[in-house]
Subunit: 442 residues, 4 copies
C-alpha cells in the first residue's frame, strides 16, 4: 500500500448559516441531498487480494465535494474574488463562468470581482483595476478560449502586498485558478490572512494542461489539449508520409510529464516515436533513437516523432535561466532533435525531409470541448460550495471518479508523472512499435 | 454501504503458457509489469467517516485488467472471432482495431475473423460469410464511424445455432461488442459451449451510447455522443432564439436513462428544460411543463427543450410493440411534446414557432473523438489480455477510474440510471433553471 | 446569345456630397480608387467563336459595386434600418455586422436600427420595438449562427403599414436581407415611398440558402450549407453501409432547385441517387428509381439517396396549402420515398433497413464558414456604398466573379435552376453512377 | 482595356474517335450536351460604359472546358501518368481521384500510373517505381490531406531524362499537378516530346496554395487554407488578448502574394495589422508599423499581426540562397518582426508579451473542405476531357466563373497579385483599421 496522507480540510470557522441552496435530506423525493462533511471517498483503492485487512482512519479519506446544509458566509456579506494565473488552458472561462453563476444564482452573492492578469492584478504598481463580474458578462464566455480575466506568470511570492490588496478590496473569498505555483501562493495568502486575523476562504481550482497535478485524476483542459494535439499529429503524419524519407517532429506541452504526448499517441495511432520526460533515451548507439529512426525509414520511408517539451533535457546543455513562474527555462528539444537528426542523416548521406511543428499556442488557447466544459462547470460549482461553507487552504479535485476536496498543502507536495511501468505507457509503447527503452547498455 | 457483489472471474482453464508479451516483474527497469490475478480494485469507495471499519473479502474486489504472465491459449492455435451487435456507436471500429492489433502484434495470433451484421452473421440461413481480419484491413478504420463488420439487432437467443456455427468455424475466442442484450447472449453462448465441453473464451466489450451499462463508469462512444449532441442543441438554440416565441425540441438517445441529455445540458448551458426517463413530469397544471414553458416564453421569448427518448413514457399511449432486440417500442416523445405544446399555445392564442430536431443517426454514426479513441484502444487491448489468459463470461470495464474485469452475470443484472438526487442531476437542474420537479401535488 | 436585360440602376437623387471614405483617383499610390458609375461588367460572356461581333449597350452591362466619390446622403442625417426576413441562413449576422461597421466607421453614420423578426417588426400590432445597433453590439456576432435581429416569414405585402412605420421611424435607408419574396416587398416599399415623395433608399441583400436567386452567382450561406450537408451525408453513408441492405435517405433544402443536393453530391462522393426538382423521375418501371435501387442493393448491399425537398412533387398528392411567405406547402418527399421504398421491398420480400434524416434546422442555423464570412463582409460593405450613394430598388450581387448592382425588378423576375444539361449536373450524375434520367419511355 | 492574349489551345492531332462519353447534342432531353471547341468565354469583361464598342477575335476568348464529341485517343491504347509536384496543398488527392475516376469510368482507360514524389519519380537514379492507379485505390483518398503519390520540389529542368523515362513507360498522356515551376517543366516536356515526334498530351492542373496563379480565378486548396488559417488567427487573438500588452504574430503562406493573409483577415475580423508582399511598409518613423503598434496597445492592450511569408523582404538582409524549386530562400519575416518589436518596446521600457505562430505545415496538409473537394473533382474531370481530346500544353482553369482551357505558355508568363488599389485590399484595410499605407514620406 502507498504512503498515508492526512486529507483533513481546514475551515475558517463553524458553518452556522442555513444554506440558501434548497436541497433535501431525504431519499426518494427527487430532490438532491446535501452533502455532509462525513461523506468520504477512499483514496487507496488498489489492493492485493491476499492482504485485505484494510482499516481506514477518517483522515485517510477524502471529503466529498458538494453543497453543505449550513454555510459559513452570509451571502449578502460575501465579496468574492476570482483570479487566473499562469499559461492559458482550455476551460478557464468555463470555470470562471460556473463560479459566477453558482455564487449569483445559488447563493445570491452579488459582489464578485475579477482580478486581471493573475496575481499581478493585486499589485498596486501595475494599476490594473479589477472588473465586476455578473451573469450577463459570463453568459457566453465558455464558448471562447483563454480567460476573460487575462493571465500572467509570477508574483505569487509577494504575499504581503497581495494580502494588503485583498484587505483593501475587502474580499472574504478568493478563488485561485492556476498551477502548483499558483496554489502554493494561494496557500501562503491564506496563511498570511489567518496570521492577520481576517477571515478569508481561499479555494483553489488546480490548472495544468500537462495533467500532472497530484491528487487530481484529470486536470481540466487536458482532454481538449489531446484533441487539438491529435489534429496536429495528423498533419505531421501527412507531411512525413508525402515527402521522400519524411520525418515530422511535433513538440507538445509537458515540462515534467508526458501525459499529453502519451494520450495523443494512443488516440491517433500515427506516432512512431514518443519521447517524454519520465523515460530517458539515448540518441546514439545501437539502441539509440537515431539508429531506430533510420531502421524505420528504411522500412517505411517516413516517421513521426512526438516529443514532450521536457523530454531529453539531460541531452541538452542547461540554459541556466528561469521563467517568471520560477520554472527552469528548457532548451527547445524539438529544434535540438531536428539538428541532431539532420546531422546524423547528412553523415550517412541519406537525404531526409524534416518538418518541425510546435503548436503549443494553438492548443492551449482552444475553447474547451464538451467533456471539459462539463467538467469545468462542475469544478466551479463545487469550489463555490466549499468556499461558502468556509473551507479554505484546499483545492477542488476529482479522484477515483468522485469530486472531492483536497488540502492544498498535500496537493502541491508532489507532482504526477507517467509511470513508465504502468499500463498506460505499456499501451503507448505498443501503439508506436518503438522499443520499450532506447538506452544502450553501459 | 451498498449491496455486496461477487466479482470472481471465471476461466476456462489454468493458464500455463508463458505469455509472448515480454514485460517485467521488477520495478525500476522502465519496463511495464505483468498484472497478477491478485491485483484488485475496491468497488465500494464512498464511505462515512464515522463508520470506517471496512473489511473487504477478495470477492468484493474487482480484478485489475492487463496482461498476465501466463496465458491459457497457445497463440498459434487461436482462432478468434469478433462480432458487433445492436445500434451504431462511436468507437466500434476503434475497439475492433485494438483487438486485431493486440492479438496480431502482441500475441502473434494470425487467425481472426469478423462476424458480419451481429449475431445474424452466425446463422447459416443468412449466408453472410465472415471476413478475415488483419492489421492492414484495420489500419485506418478508427477514423471512420460505424463498424466495418456491420451490425444488426437480435438473434442473441438462438444460442444453439450460434454455438453450432462457432464449432464449425472452430473459434476458441469470441469478442462480443454490444449492449446488455448482446452480453446476455454472449453469456448463454459461453454456457452452452461449456455444456458441450469445448473450450471457448467469451469476452464482452460493453457498448451503450446511453452510458447506462452497470459496473461501467463510462461507456465508450458516450463522450463523442455528448459532443455531437452539443452541436445540435447549439443549432436548436439559434432556431428558438431567432423566431418569435421560438421553441426548439431536441430528442437524444436514452431509452431508460438520461445521461446524454444530462451531460449535454451541462456542457452547453443553452437548455431550458431537460426531460429524462428517471424523473417524471406533468404536462398540465400549475407545476407542469406547459405552464413553466409559457412563463419562460413570457420572460425570454424562446426556449430549448432537450428530451431523452425514454422520457415521459407514462404520458403516452403504449405502442404495444417490441423491436428486434426485444426492447419495447417507444412512442416518439418529441413528436408527442410538439403536438401537446402546439395545442396548448393555440388554446392560449399565443403564437409560437416550434422546431423539432431528432439527430440520432447523425450522433451515433460519428467517428470517435480523441478521448473515446484512446479509451476504446485500451478497452480492446485489455479484452485481448483477458481472453488470452482464458478468462471468460466477463466484460472489460472501467470502474473508479481503473480498468477491471467484471463477471457478465453481474454486469447485466441491473442498469445504470441518472440518480435524480445526485450531484450530477443537481448541477443539471441548476444549469437549466427549471424547477427541481415538475409534478403537481396530488 | 441569351435574352437582353436592362441593368440600369435607379437612384433617389443626384449624389453631390463628397464621400467621407477617403480613397484615391490615381493608380500607383497604393490607395484604393473610387468606383464610378461608368465602370461596368459584361453579363453575357459565353460566346461562340464563329459569331463574335458582340456589341453591348450600356444598359446590358452591370454596374460595378463599390464606394463612389460623391454620395447622396449626409451621414449625419442618415437613419438606417436593417431587417432580416424568411428562414435562417448562415451568414446573416456577418451581413448585419458588415453593414453596421461600414456605416459607422466608413461613413460616420450613428443612427442604425434593427427591425426585429422580419417585416413583422414594422407592424404596430406586434409591438416589437426595434433595437439600436452599433459596433459594440455587432463585434462578435459573426461567430454565431442565425440573426441577432430574429426573422420571420410574410407581411411583405402590407406595404402601406410598413411605409407608415418607416416614416414614423424616420428612416431614409433600408437594408432588406431576404429571399425573392422579401425583395419583392422591398421593391414595393421603395415604390410606395417614392409615391409619397419621401427619400428612401432601399437596398437588398439577396438571401437564399438554396442558391437559386437569379443574377446571383452564389448566394451567401450556400457554401456553409453544403459543408454541413456533407457531414450529414457522411453519417447517412455509415448508417447505410453498416446495416444489412441499408438505405439512407437524406433530405436537404431546395424547394425549387437542387443546388445543395448537387454540390453536396460532388463534394462527398458517397451519394448513389440524387433527386432534384429540375429532373423528373419515375418510381416504378424498368427505369424507375425503385428498380435501380434494388439493383444497387444487389450489387453493393447499401445505398444513399439525397433528395432536395422540392424533388418529385409531381409524384405526391398536392397538399393545397401555402406557408406565410406564400410558398406552396410541399408534402415531405423524404417520408414519401421512405414509404414507397419500404412497400416495394416488402412486396419483393427483400428485408431492408431504411433510415431517414432531415437535417435542415441543423444546416441553416450554422455559423458561416470562412468563405461565407468573407463573402458576407464584402456584400454588406458594398450594400452600404450603394445606399449612401442614393442607389435604390436594387440588390447587391456577384456575377461573373465581380461584385455588381442589379435592379431588384430584374433579379426577382425569374429564378435560378440546376440546368440538367449543364456540366454541373453531368459531373453530379457521373459521381453517383445513377442513370442520366430515371424515366420510362411512354 | 487590358493587354490582349492569344488563348488558342494546341492539340497533338485531329480528334476523330467518337467519344465513349455518351452525351447529347439536343436541348430539352435532360442529357448534358457535348462542348464544342467553338464555345468560348470572354476574358476581359470589365468595361467602361462610355466605350462599349468591343470587338473580340476568337483568339481573345478562352475555350470552354468539357467533354468533346470526338476525341483523339483510343481509350484502350491510353497509358496515362499522373504526377504531383512541389509543396503540399489541400485537394491534391481530390484531383488525383477525379482524374482516375473519369479516365476509368467515363472513358474506359485501364492503364493509369502514379509517378511518385514529383518529377523525381521519373529519374532512374532515384529508383522509385510508379504505382498502378485504379478506382479501388482512389475511392477514399479525398478524405485525406496530402497526396498519395508523394511530392517533392525541383527536377523540372531535367527535361531530356524525364522524356526518356516517359518513352520507356510508354505514356501518351501526362497530368502534371503543380505550381508554375511545374507547369513550365510540363511545357518543356511537351515540347521535347513534340520534337522527338511522339504523341504526348500534357495537361496541367495549376496548384498554388497562395492563389497567385495567373489566369486562374481561384486555385484549389486556397479556400481550405483560409479556413485553417482563420482557426490559427483565432488562437492568436486569444493569446494576445489574455496577456498584458499581448502581441501575436501569425505567419501564413504567400511568398509573392498576400491572398491568404487578405482573405483570412476579412473572414475573421480579429487582425489588427496585415502585411503582404505587394504593399511595402516601414518599421520605424511616425507612420511605421512599430509606432502604430504602440498606439494600438495603448488603446486596446493587445494586437494581432498577420504576415505573409514574402512580406517586408526589403527590410531583411537577403539570404542569397535558393530552394530546390529555384525560389529565392526568404528570411523568416515572422522571427524578424518578433525581434524588431521586442527591441522597440524594450527601448520604450514598455513590457509586452509576444507570441509567434507559424502554422504552415498544419494548414497545407489539411484535407480539402467541401468547396475545394467539389472544385477539385470538376478540375480533374475537365483535365481528363481535354487530354482525351488531344489537347496539350495547356492547363485547366476557372476564369470569370467558367471552367476553361488556358495555354500553359500564357498562364506561366506572369503571376497574380493582390492589387493594393482593389476593392479586396480596400475591404481588408477597413477590417483591420490599420492605415492605408505605413510608409513615411521621404
Amino acid at each position: 500500500m502507498d504512503e498515508k496522507y492526512d486529507f483533513t480540510i481546514s475551515t475558517i470557522g463553524k458553518p452556522n448559516i442555513p444554506s440558501p441552496v434548497t436541497l433535501s435530506k431525504n431519499r426518494g423525493d427527487y430532490i438532491a441531498n446535501y452533502v455532509t462533511d462525513n461523506q468520504r471517498v477512499l483514496y487507496t483503492i488498489e489492493v492485493d487480494s491476499s492482504k485485505l485487512d484494510c482499516h481506514f482512519s477518517p483522515q485517510e479519506c477524502m471529503e466529498r465535494a458538494g453543497p453543505r446544509e449550513r454555510i459559513y458566509f452570509d451571502p449578502s456579506k460575501v465579496n468574492a474574488g476570482v483570479v487566473t494565473c499562469g499559461g492559458l488552458c482550455p476551460g478557464l472561462n468555463d470555470v470562471i463562468r460556473a463560479v459566477i453563476m453558482c455564487l449569483w444564482y445559488r447563493y445570491g452573492v452579488r459582489r464578485i470581482c475579477g482580478i486581471r492578469f493573475g496575481y499581478r492584478g493585486f499589485l498596486p504598481q501595475f494599476k490594473i483595476p479589477p472588473i465586476d463580474l455578473n451573469p450577463s458578462i459570463a453568459e457566453d464566455i465558455h464558448q471562447k478560449g483563454g480567460t476573460i480575466l487575462g493571465s500572467s506568470r509570477g508574483y505569487g511570492d509577494l504575499v504581503s502586498e497581495i494580502v494588503d490588496s485583498i484587505e483593501r478590496m475587502n474580499l472574504n473569498i478568493l478563488f485561485a485558478i492556476g498551477g502548483d505555483g499558483t496554489q502554493r501562493g494561494a496557500l501562503k495568502i491564506a496563511e498570511e490572512a489567518e496570521r492577520r486575523g481576517f477571515k478569508l476562504a481561499v479555494v483553489g481550482v488546480p490548472k495544468t494542461i500537462d495533467n500532472d497535478f497530484s491528487f487530481v485524476q484529470r486536470s481540466f483542459g487536458f482532454d481538449t489539449a489531446v484533441t487539438e494535439a491529435e489534429k496536429v499529429v495528423s498533419a505531421a503524419h501527412v507531411e512525413a508520409h508525402d515527402a521522400p524519407n519524411g520525418i515530422s517532429i511535433v513538440k507538445v506541452m509537458g515540462r515534467e510529464s508526458g501525459f499529453i504526448a502519451a494520450h495523443t499517441t494512443l488516440a491517433i495511432n500515427d506516432v512512431n516515436f514518443v519521447l517524454i520526460p519520465e523515460v530517458p533515451f539515448d540518441l546514439d548507439g545501437e539502441n539509440g533513437l537515431l539508429n531506430h529512426l533510420q531502421k524505420r525509414l528504411e522500412l517505411r520511408n517516413h516517421a513521426v516523432i512526438l516529443v514532450a517539451e521536457g523530454a531529453g533535457t539531460d541531452l541538452m546543455p542547461d540554459s541556466g535561466k528561469v521563467d517568471a513562474s520560477g520554472n527552469r527555462k528548457l532548451g527547445d528539444i524539438g529544434l535540438f532533435l531536428k539538428g541532431k537528426i539532420a546531422g546524423y542523416f547528412k553523415k550517412k548521406d541519406m537525404p531526409v525531409t524534416i518538418r518541425y511543428i510546435d503548436p503549443s499556442y494553438i492548443i492551449r488557447s482552444s475553447p474547451a470541448n464538451s467533456s471539459d466544459s462539463l467538467y469545468c462547470a462542475r469544478l466551479g460549482n463545487n469550489a463555490v460550495h466549499a468556499a461558502m461553507a468556509g473551507k479554505t487552504k484546499m483545492i477542488i479535485s476529482m479522484v477515483n471518479n468522485h469530486f472531492v476536496y483536497i488540502p492544498t498543502r498535500i496537493s502541491v507536495s508532489t507532482r504526477n508523472h507517467v509511470d513508465p511501468e504502468s499500463s498506460l505507457w505499456r499501451d503507448v509503447i505498443e501503439a508506436t512499435g518503438q522499443p520499450a527503452l532506447m538506452k544502450n547498455p553501459r
